[in-house]
Symmetry: C2
Subunit: 281 residues, 2 copies
């Protein structure tokens, strides 16, 4: 496995791999890889001969006062995980390589970026779509793999790819969880032991919601209130949002029917965590 | 030469052409082709084995009250001109093919889109970059050809391609003029005989500016005022802007030195015309 830092180098590696007629899989990440990322890389390697993993903490998707500076970084550890999972190349550019001075271009997906995480993180998805589009143009992969934990991110990227006619297949992959249910996230590392326990309130309320739906609860407002009340019982938790929406256009629904996404963002202490379930009802 | 209307068809034509290892040239247009467009197509054909010409009057780059509805259209005539110039495929999609319902994504190039034409046509360049990016993703050409008459458009597209790491070469091509100097434009067809004569004020003031620079005039403010006064002497002309800027970042300059762009937008009657000269001083 090779680690490269420039656009020119990653282009050259992909061009070489392409020559044999190989398919290219791409896994964009912000690094500090965990089993969730590893599962994306393994899946990419199953479905493509050559896999590129990007590791880049993208400044344009962090807001003022967010954790860009402190976001965990560990390239040596990431290299081991990526290589074991089957990556052929890690692309690890500098901020200057991605955003030279005189940089001026941004991609905006309207409407669905304003909901859910968009409310408390204005500009976040603009940063995501911009960097993902840049990476897509560099790597020119056949398929790109994204974790369903960032459900809104997946919906936004699928919308961008569809709208801008990008020639790449987006593969959303299931959330990977710790044994006790907590969705894996690089930000879990911020949690104290007490917070780590309190964080289970996210997955537990989602799992119980799923049970309630299976038992016939189809009123989205009632279910949403129930989730909110449950989370509010956890003293370390502070709700950012609890939303029950259509899984494609993220519009609020009244009746739990069709493609349903239940998405949460909750602060546990100072750490903002997200989790969701998506189900066909 | 083939005329196709869907994204799928144009992709298929290009994929077929690619198989022989051919290079693809692309000329995006709004149709109503004139000798300026023909010169782009001929150049594309000289430098690539296979040439795609798109003809699409793009609604998102027209503002309220502009001429989207009345913009001249004549596919039969355009087909003849494109075929004679060497086009292999015309891509002529419907508005619905390009902007299906639920369309939400736009590309914004900041700063340089706010100057010159951006002042009187807010949103225009957002429409241009969005449609051009969509077309680039569909056609996946090696090179795309743009007329230097739309100097700001060329600068904006070059900025977008650079910023988003698009793998395509942008080839700006010299302005093609009528025998008397008027820059060719599909909108010249709007001019009455008297207006057609009055329209010469644009090119004449540019040509004379070039002479004045050659004779040692290096004060941009003085030259700009001279151009304005000259144009104001033409009763049918109403200045939108006269700007003397750097040719790459479109920033106003005080001294005429380096890469200089003198750009004009002038209304002749109801028709807004643009023209420019770019020179190395």
């Amino acid at each position: 496995m090779k680690i490269v830092e420039t656009v020119e180098q990653v282009r050259a590696e992909v061009a070489k791999a392409r020559k044999g007629g190989n398919k290219i899989g791409f896994v964009p990440t912000m690094g500090y890889l965990h089993e969730g990322h590893a599962s994306l890389i393994r899946r990419a390697k199953e479905e493509n001969e050559f896999v590129v993993v990007s590791i880049f903490v993208n400044p344009t998707q962090f807001g003022v006062g967010e954790d860009f500076e402190t976001y965990p970084r560990d390239l040596a550890r990431d290299s081991d995980i990526a290589e074991q999972a089957g990556a052929n190349v890690i692309f690890h550019p500098t901020v200057k390589e991605m955003y030279p001075s005189e940089y001026k271009t941004y991609i905006e997906v309207e409407d669905i970026t304003a909901k859910l995480c968009g409310t408390s993180r204005p500009g976040h998805f603009r940063g995501v779509t911009t960097i993902v589009s840049k990476l897509f143009h560099m790597v020119k992969a056949d398929r790109a793999y994204f974790g369903q934990k960032d459900a809104q991110q997946v919906a936004v990227i699928q919308q961008m790819v569809r709208d801008l006619n990008m020639d790449i297949e987006i593969i959303p992959c299931a959330i990977v969880r710790e044994a006790d249910g907590l969705a894996m996230s690089s930000r879990n590392t911020y949690l104290s032991p007490a917070e780590r326990k309190a964080a289970l309130i996210l997955s537990q309320s989602l799992f119980q919601s799923e049970e309630m739906i299976k038992n016939g609860e189809l009123d989205a407002r009632k279910l949403r209130n129930w989730i909110k009340e449950k989370i509010q019982c956890e003293p370390l938790a502070k709700i950012d949002y609890v939303e029950i929406v259509n899984g494609v256009n993220l519009e609020e629904i009244e009746e739990i029917k069709g493609d349903v996404l239940i998405a949460l963002a909750v602060k546990i202490g100072k750490t903002r965590l997200i989790d969701n379930i998506r189900l066909e009802v």
